[in-house]
Amino acid sequence: EPEVTQTPSHQVTQMGQEVILRCVPISNHLYFYWYRQILGQKVEFLVSFYNNEISEKSEIFDDQFSVERPDGSNFTLKIRSTKLEDSAMYFCATRLDSGANVLTFGAGSRLTVL
C-alpha cells in the first residue's frame, strides 16, 4: 500500500536553529498538508498546499514557518528560528485530488527544541 514517508523521525535542535522536515507524498497525490501535535494535545492544522502554492494556513503558521516542494517530490516544512513551544510531532498528510476526502498520514517527525 502506498505510503507517505517523513524524515527525520526524530530531531533534537537548539532554540533559534532552523529545522527542515521532509515528506515524500504518495506519487499521484496532489494535495499536501502539515499538521502539528503537541504532546498530549489535539492534532492541529498548519497549512495546506496545492499546485505549488499555499491553499490555506492557520494562525499557528506564522512567518517562522514556510513550505515548499522544491524538486517536485519532497514536500518540506521549514521552521526558521525554532522556539521551545515548537516541540511537537509534525505530521505530513496527502490527498489524491479534489474529489477525494481521505488524507493519508505519514508516521510523523518528532521535533524537540532545547
Partner: protein, 112 residues
C-alpha cells in the same frame, strides 16, 4: 468554521466488551465527511472508519461501526468485542473546506 468536540477525555473497558466513543461537530456545510482515527503509542495516525454525510446508512468496518445522526451533528464510534490492541487515542475528524479538523481525542484503555 467547523468545530469537533469529544467530551470523553478518557475511557476504559474490559477486554471483549463493547465501548462507544462520542463526537459532536458543528458546521454550516451540507456536504462533508467524518472520520475516526486511531493513534497508538507509536503516534501513527491510522484511519479507522469514515462516513459520507449524504449517506444515511451508518458505516461499518469489522468490529467498528458508527452512529451518525446528521440532524443532531453527532458521530459516535462503537467498538465491539474490544481487544488489547484497541488501546489508543481516538480522534474524531471532520473533512470540509478542503481540510481535516480534529477533536481533542479520547484515550481508550482496554483492560485485560
Amino acid at each position: 468554521a467547523q468545530t469537533v468536540t469529544q467530551s470523553q477525555p478518557e475511557m476504559s473497558v474490559q477486554e471483549a466488551e463493547t465501548v462507544t466513543l462520542s463526537c459532536t461537530y458543528d458546521t454550516s456545510e451540507n456536504n462533508y465527511y467524518l472520520f475516526w482515527y486511531k493513534q497508538p503509542p507509536s503516534r501513527q495516525m491510522i484511519l479507522v472508519i469514515r462516513q459520507e454525510a449524504y449517506k444515511q446508512q451508518n458505516a461499518t468496518e469489522n468490529r467498528f461501526s458508527v452512529n451518525f445522526q446528521k440532524a443532531a451533528k453527532s458521530f459516535s464510534l462503537k467498538i465491539s468485542d474490544s481487544q488489547l490492541g484497541d488501546t489508543a487515542m481516538y480522534f474524531c475528524a471532520f473533512f470540509g473546506n478542503e481540510k481535516l479538523t480534529f477533536g481533542t481525542g479520547t484515550r481508550l484503555t482496554i483492560i485485560p
